[in-house]
Amino acid sequence: MARRVLMGNTAVAEAVRLAGVQVVTAYPITPQTVIVERIAEMVERGELKARYIRVESEHSALALVYGAAAGGARAFTATSSHGLLYMYEMLWWVAGSRLPIVMAVVTRSIGPPWGLHSDHHDALTVRDTGWIIGFASSVQEAFDMTLQAFKISEDRRVMLPAMVALEGFTLSHTAEPVEMPDEKSVSEWLPPREPLPFKIEPGKAFAVGNTGPDEVTMELKWLAWRAMERSRFVIRETDLEYAKRFGLRSYGGLVEDVYAKGSDYVVVAMGAWCGDLKEAVEKLRGEGYRVGLLRIRYFRPFPWEELREVSQNAKAVLVIDRAVSIGHRGILGLEVSSAIGDRVPVKNVIAGIGGVDTGPEDFYSIVKTFIEEYESGSIEGWSIPEWYMPWMGVVSK
């Protein structure tokens, strides 16, 4: 075990090195670029025995790692924002082909206007493609989640690609201390990829991805859905096993519970700003409010069981969203509401779009307002977005 001070991007690159990835490719886009720059350096210095291939677009980046994975290699790519959108077609193809691939998505807003700072639109826009989607909230977690993504993605019970989202700049370019297991113990835990029964190589005459009856399309979709359901157990198991094996802490599987279970008020959020949100929750608890935070670690598979359990005895749930589905509500808000149904009133707040700064004081006041509204009985509008879904930080209001 080594302790190093690393930026989020560098930590992801270190995880890729430790995973013994064989094929790496990417197209440059800020703020992801440092990951692949660092990997390119590792390859040129001989620290990682891999092929680094410089492609001409993100579409080709994912196409190339798809080909590599189909041939049996462990493959990695990374992107952000418009790059992820440019991959959209290939995202479906990769997941539908049930090939294990790991991709880091350093979150960044989508234009126009051009902006470099983070929100969650990019990663959440691809939620239906069949990828496992994790959201890190610290540099340590970005490292752990990337390494675990290979294990989960390649697990025979899963065989789905996995995406690790980390907040642009807040995590990608911020240095924090990171505990890193050594190469030998990682390779014992994560041996080279098992060969696939349908590896594409010369002399084996069969086709992958050709046309077929409608029932085959439906069956394959069902199989992917079932594998994603199974991945819940594999994610929880991997989280525990990793923590035990390397003497690190377990995060709690699909979610991290910060006083949420048993609290009257549950705040749900995702990503790096949960650090600030924790601070706000601690402060409110100090003032006697029975409030807790449920941090979503995996958006796919979505932790509906955990949400139901935690909200069972809660009075109200607040979802702070960093992405909105225009024409409806916040994307996380929608998912949370669909998971817990009508049992508990849910309030949805939109904040931090395009990187608009939302700090501990903002969270303090958002959460406090939510509790006060509930206690004064003025909650009837929470479920009607047209007239009640606060957008924090909108200047023209």
Partner: protein, 301 residues
């Protein structure tokens, strides 16, 4: 090189009873690919006619390993597949078998990227000069004035792009044109390409009976006329040397070419052409010959 050498491999490429149209040129091309590249070949196929020819699960129209991939992605997928084979020591020739739409239009950036990187793949573009699989829409390689369903009255108003020359300008190790009517020439080019490492490109001329509107028993005849009228030129670039191949060589001399109308009149897509249109196409063909002869002089090894 004789035709008998094509029997070297037991791989037949396409299998009898596959769902290709009658007289399909891809079947001819793929047979030669199978026989020549045989057990070493792996095919990556983007969306197009060959997606269908490959068959409807659980049946299979080819006896080769095939990865079907999205329209614009094939050369990149092939590069990744080849990289994985390199990593695990697998001897393979990763072939992109593509149509003109995937190669020249939607996937041109992908093709160009793979060429620039000199990825170790062989790209074969079986060019039927339109989007045939979706019902004969004009593509970047459709001939000027050809009728398609998206150029239904006047014919295509734009010039076609010369894909092989564009690939030559990527400074890759091997570029050639070929025709389904000349199997020995195509086979020799495949063998040559198979002996080279890096990016290799073969532009295969593939006349399409329903798309060009000629009888399905005339595929080879039409392809042959394309050569004999000088409309399609067989050439090869390798090791710094570009040469017009013996099949096409005689037609460098304009006087030796068959009248262009013989080639055009067989095709319904050119039924509306006027005398002056045919003349204009003849001039375009002659300009193409001048360019190739000049390139042959420049790249003389």
């Amino acid at each position: 090189m004789s035709l008998q050498r094509l029997a070297l491999s037991r791989i037949r490429g396409t299998l009898p009873g596959n769902p290709a149209c009658m007289g399909c040129p891809h079947n001819i091309g793929l047979k030669i690919v199978g026989r020549v590249l045989g057990e070493r070949a792996v095919l990556v196929i983007p969306a197009g006619c060959s997606t269908i020819i490959s068959g409807f699960w659980p049946r299979e129209g080819f006896d080769l390993p095939i990865l079907h991939v999205p329209f614009a992605s094939a050369p990149a997928v092939a590069a990744g597949l080849r990289a994985s084979h390199e990593a695990s020591g697998v001897d393979s020739i990763v072939v992109v078998w593509s149509g003109d739409g995937a190669a020249a239009d939607i996937g041109f950036a992908t093709l160009s990227g793979a060429a620039v990187r000199n990825d170790d793949i062989l790209v074969i573009v079986s060019d039927n000069e339109a989007y045939m699989n979706t019902g004969i829409q004009a593509s970047g390689t459709t001939m000027w004035r050809a009728l398609t369903t998206t150029t239904p009255v006047m014919g295509k108003t734009e010039e076609r792009k010369d894909l092989a020359l564009l690939m030559l300008m990527h400074r890759v190790p091997y570029v050639a044109t070929a025709s389904i009517a000349y199997p020995t020439d195509f086979a020799a080019k495949l063998e040559k390409a198979a002996s080279i490492r890096g990016f290799r490109f073969i532009h295969l001329h593939s006349p399409c009976p329903p798309g060009w509107r000629f009888d399905s028993d005339k595929t080879v005849y039409v392809a042959k006329l394309a050569i004999e009228t000088g409309a399609w030129i067989l050439w090869e670039y390798s090791g710094g040397k570009l040469s017009i191949n013996p099949v096409s060589r005689p037609y460098a001399d304009k006087a030796k070419r068959k009248p262009l109308a013989e080639y055009l009149k067989l095709q319904g897509r050119f039924a509306h052409l006027r005398e002056e249109d045919i003349k204009a196409i003849e001039e375009k063909i002659e300009a193409n010959w001048r360019l190739l002869k000049e390139l042959e002089r420049i790249y003389s090894g």
